[in-house]
């Protein structure tokens, strides 16, 4: 197991390197001169040339790439062209916002998805099963940005129950410690604001959770059905074990593998969907950070932002892979 983990980590190195390379070149291929963009259309030629030189954009690409990778290895993500601040310092609040949103969404998706799947499987062909599966089918087909818009329209603009944008009550902010506002409000002991943060989270996280929830519910149901039909569950039931134990002890443990796969895959969708959800709900997350940076030709921000998202994504998938091996003795790791 340890050898396998080490080997998988070593295998990440070429992928990470390749990713850096790809991102570096995509960014360089975006049309437009960043110096010109920063200084505006009225800037003199001299000023543009000076800034280009200062940014190191005159160096051959491999020199630029070398400097970039060298910086990355020492934990330096570069400087934002727009704000001149080190990205390392600037990015965390955005990243934390996205993490908070994604984690809550994933939690909702898993909790509702798995339970709906189990109940559907147990009461197969009941009205609950039909309704749940039709909703799941619609769920996997719904565009997340449209769902977000409709939620926003119904629950905040029409009914006025929930706030439509932002993360907190901006008129009465809480001191920022971790940038995860759920934690920050608790640290500050501000339970009123904690409630506010939750109210702000509900709509975007529900929108973001819909697709993964639908997929998890479908997968849980079908793998539960498969497990429930297997001989050893039939034996357990024949031995007179109570339904609760049969389901939760035997079936769930075996249904967890396919669900795990989906969760691993959904993280990508979630991070991608976060960009759209953040746009709609004015959520100051990393998706919006990158998206705005594209408009400003802020190369270093786009570059490092994409790289960070991709790194998180592959690390999560690695963890999922390792969990498989840990959970399922049948999966061999070579």
């Amino acid at each position: 197991m340890l050898t396998y983990t080490i080997r998988r980590l070593l295998m990440l190195i070429p992928v990470l390197f390749g990713m850096t390379f790809v991102v570096f070149f995509i960014i360089r291929a975006i049309p437009g001169d960043p110096a010109q963009v920063i200084l505006g259309q009225q800037a003199t030629k001299e000023a543009v040339a000076q800034l280009t030189e200062k940014l190191g954009l005159n160096d051959p690409w491999y020199v630029q790439f070398f400097h970039y990778v060298k910086g990355l290895l020492s934990g330096d993500l570069g400087e934002s062209l727009r704000s001149s601040a080190p990205i390392k310092d600037e990015i965390w609040p955005y990243l934390a916002a996205t993490l908070e949103l994604s984690l809550v969404a994933m939690f909702i998706a898993i909790f509702i998805g798995v339970n709906a799947g189990i109940i559907s499987a147990w009461f197969q062909n009941s009205w609950f099963d039909y309704v749940a599966m039709i909703l799941a089918l619609i769920g996997i087909s719904i565009p997340v940005f449209w769902l977000g818009l409709m939620e926003q329209w119904a629950f905040s603009l029409e009914l006025g129950w929930l706030p439509s944008t932002g993360r907190e009550n901006v008129r009465d902010p809480v001191e920022v410690v971790t940038n995860l506002y759920l934690i920050d409000t608790l640290i500050a002991g501000r339970f009123d604001q904690f409630g506010e943060v939750i109210r702000h989270l509900i709509l975007p996280s529900l929108a973001l959770a819909t697709i993964p929830m639908a997929i998890i519910a479908r997968i849980t149901r079908s793998s539960m059905l498969e497990v429930m039909r297997s001989d050893y569950i039939r034996t357990a039931r024949a031995k007179g074990m109570r339904m609760f134990f049969v389901v939760y002890k035997h079936s769930l443990k075996n249904a967890v593998i396919p669900v795990l796969t989906v969760i691993g895959l959904q993280v990508g969708l979630l991070l991608g969907g976060a960009i759209l959800t953040e746009t709609i709900f004015g959520w100051p997350g990393i998706g919006r950070y990158i998206y705005e940076a594209i408009g400003f030709r802020d190369y270093p921000v786009i570059q490092s932002g994409i790289l960070i998202i991709a790194t998180i994504f592959i690390l999560i998938n690695l963890i999922v892979d390792l969990l498989y091996v840990a959970i399922d003795p049948r999966i061999k790791y070579n």
Binding site: T3, I6, R7, L10
Partner: protein, 314 residues
């Protein structure tokens, strides 16, 4: 004495074993470790051994379906290993193969007609009408009817499928057929039918067979000579009767002792009467320590005319 159609000299196949964090090569799996034999025109050479002894790998190497690591294969005095890929493909017209599993060796998405016609197309034999004619003729030859040509493999029984596999091997009029456990996947009741078919076909088309099996009983039924393989090596090679009447190598003796007796009551009186163990001429000695530990092995020596045993001079 007939002339040899195939001569195999010291053929080896090593598969690399990998391990460790970087997946480096840490050793060799010696699937076939220096096998030599020849096959005469029109005869049947049986190759027996337990599963994993390298007999199937040997069969596949003869067609270079698996590339040998080392050794020479002469077919009609042409060195097959020296041939470029394209030439090798042409040679396969003359050497065909019958596979063990009639369920897996036929493409499930092709009709029988397409399966049988394909070798002809590949080797550019005949025009379309001639090919179709040959397909229906060959179906008759192996005991099916031309009516079956439009069916798919899954619509046939195991025995029928193996007949299709045999028909496919015969389509290009090959000289040599390598039959890799052609009956082991079949019911015992069907086995003899298929074996008899193979025998009849051999007479009719002057075929040479290499017949690979793990079952000495089946091999005895069809072979002129028999080679016994163990752990990637040939341990004994002789006329079929000599192998069964006068087995010299301890492994061959073990193998024969394990053959089930058709009518146990008949033999109950004298259990060992069925198997006669021969004795090696006294100037030879067999070192069989390699059967358990990995030590130096002996080459085949002709201890009696036509009887080869892995042993050494005293």
């Amino acid at each position: 004495m007939t002339k040899p159609i195939l001569q195999v000299e010291n053929v080896k196949k090593y598969f690399p074993i990998t391990g460790g964090i970087l997946g480096k090569k840490i050793g060799d799996m010696k699937a076939v470790d220096g096998v030599s034999f020849h096959v005469n025109e029109g005869e049947t050479l049986g190759i027996v051994g337990e599963s994993g002894c390298g007999k199937s790998t040997t069969g596949r190497m003869l067609l270079r379906l698996i590339e040998p690591t080392e050794g020479t294969i002469l077919f009609d005095n042409r060195d097959l290993r020296a041939l470029p890929k394209k030439e090798m493909r042409k040679v396969r017209r003359h050497i065909q193969m019958i596979f063990q599993d009639p369920y897996a060796s036929l493409n499930p998405r092709h009709t029988v007609e397409k399966i049988l016609e394909e070798p002809l197309i590949v080797h550019g034999i005949g025009n379309e009408a001639e090919r179709k004619k040959k397909v229906s003729d060959m179906l008759e030859v192996v005991g099916l009817t031309s009516y079956h040509a439009r069916r798919y493999p899954h619509q046939f029984s195991g025995g029928q499928r193996q007949r299709i596999g045999i028909a496919r091997a015969l389509m290009t009029n090959p000289k040599l057929i390598i039959a890799d456990e052609p009956v082991s996947a079949l019911d015992v009741s069907i086995q003899s039918q298929v074996l008899n078919l193979l025998k009849d076909l051999q007479k009719e088309f002057q075929l040479t067979y290499i017949f690979i099996a793990h079952d000495l009983g089946v091999v005895r039924h069809i072979s002129d000579r028999v080679g016994v393989m163990y752990k990637g090596r040939m341990v004994e090679l002789a006329d079929a009767e000599k192998i069964y009447q006068n087995p010299l190598h301890p492994y061959t003796q073990q193998l024969l002792a394990a053959v089930p007796i058709p009518d146990p009551e008949y033999y109950q009186a004298d259990e060992q009467a069925a198997i006669q163990f021969g004795t090696l001429p006294s100037k030879y000695v067999i070192d069989d320590s390699w059967m358990n530990i990995d030590s130096e092995r002996d080459d085949l020596i002709e201890v009696a005319p036509g009887h080869f045993v892995a042993c050494r001079l005293k």
